[in-house]
């Protein structure tokens, strides 16, 4: 059974406050998230697990430490590579791309 990835009401924390709904793109596809939350949170809520592919082996990586320390979740954001998506706040219109090695792959859309 597919589970909703966002926690709507938490037994201790109640309703977790979010900013306004904003739109962004992931590799050209339209996505939604809440302003101010880490880009990685919006991606995880949408079921995205892979943030980048490594330089040498092209292996998939995603969120690991979630506090900006391990750098596994980095992606190309608004053209800039190596952006730590777990500590970077989401903004309206952000262009997020899966990072391949050190750059974004050409969009095949």
């Amino acid at each position: 059974m597919e589970m909703e990835m966002r926690i709507n009401e938490h037994p201790i924390l109640g309703v977790i406050e979010k900013g306004r709904l904003v739109h962004f793109t992931l590799d050209g596809a339209d996505m939604e998230g809440y302003e101010g939350e880490p880009i990685a949170a919006a991606l995880r809520a949408a079921g995205v697990m892979t943030h980048r592919h490594t330089v040498k082996r092209g292996e998939p990586r995603g969120i690991f430490c979630a506090i900006g320390r391990c750098t596994d979740c980095v992606m190309v954001v608004n053209g800039k590579p190596n952006v730590r998506t777990c500590v970077t706040p989401l903004e309206e219109g952000m262009k997020v791309q899966t990072q391949y090695g050190k750059t974004a792959k050409e969009q095949t859309k």
Partner: protein
């Protein structure tokens, strides 16, 4: 914890192990086997292994792999991890972009 190790001591030949393919330094994709082999090629400290293989020189600057690398080197040398010197800690403590480094704030 002395920085002086008796390098005349023999640590035996490199013996391949089944988990040599395990990635240890996630950022630079360096395996356990590479680290162990580096020790047998004469890299006996964290600093030497770092400069030889780049283990700990990637984006996270050794925050994830540091402790594990130290353990592997120590085991290969037959020492306790606490007996080996760690990497030297130098500023900046976190990765910093050159544009920021060169941008002195208003005083």
């Amino acid at each position: 914890m002395s920085i002086y190790l008796d390098r005349s001591r023999s640590i035996g030949e490199f013996v391949p192990e089944p988990d040599d393919g395990l990635i240890i330094c996630r950022c630079e994709e360096i395996t356990k086997g590479e680290i162990r082999q580096a020790v047998h090629e004469g890299m006996w400290t964290m600093t030497e292994v770092k400069r030889f293989l780049r283990a700990g020189m990637g984006l996270c600057q050794g925050q994830t792999c540091g402790r594990i690398v130290k353990g592997i080197i120590a085991k290969e040398l037959g020492l306790e991890a606490a007996e080996l010197p760690g990497n030297v800690d130098r500023a900046p403590a976190r990765p910093i972009e050159l544009t920021i480094l060169g941008n002195e704030g208003e005083q």
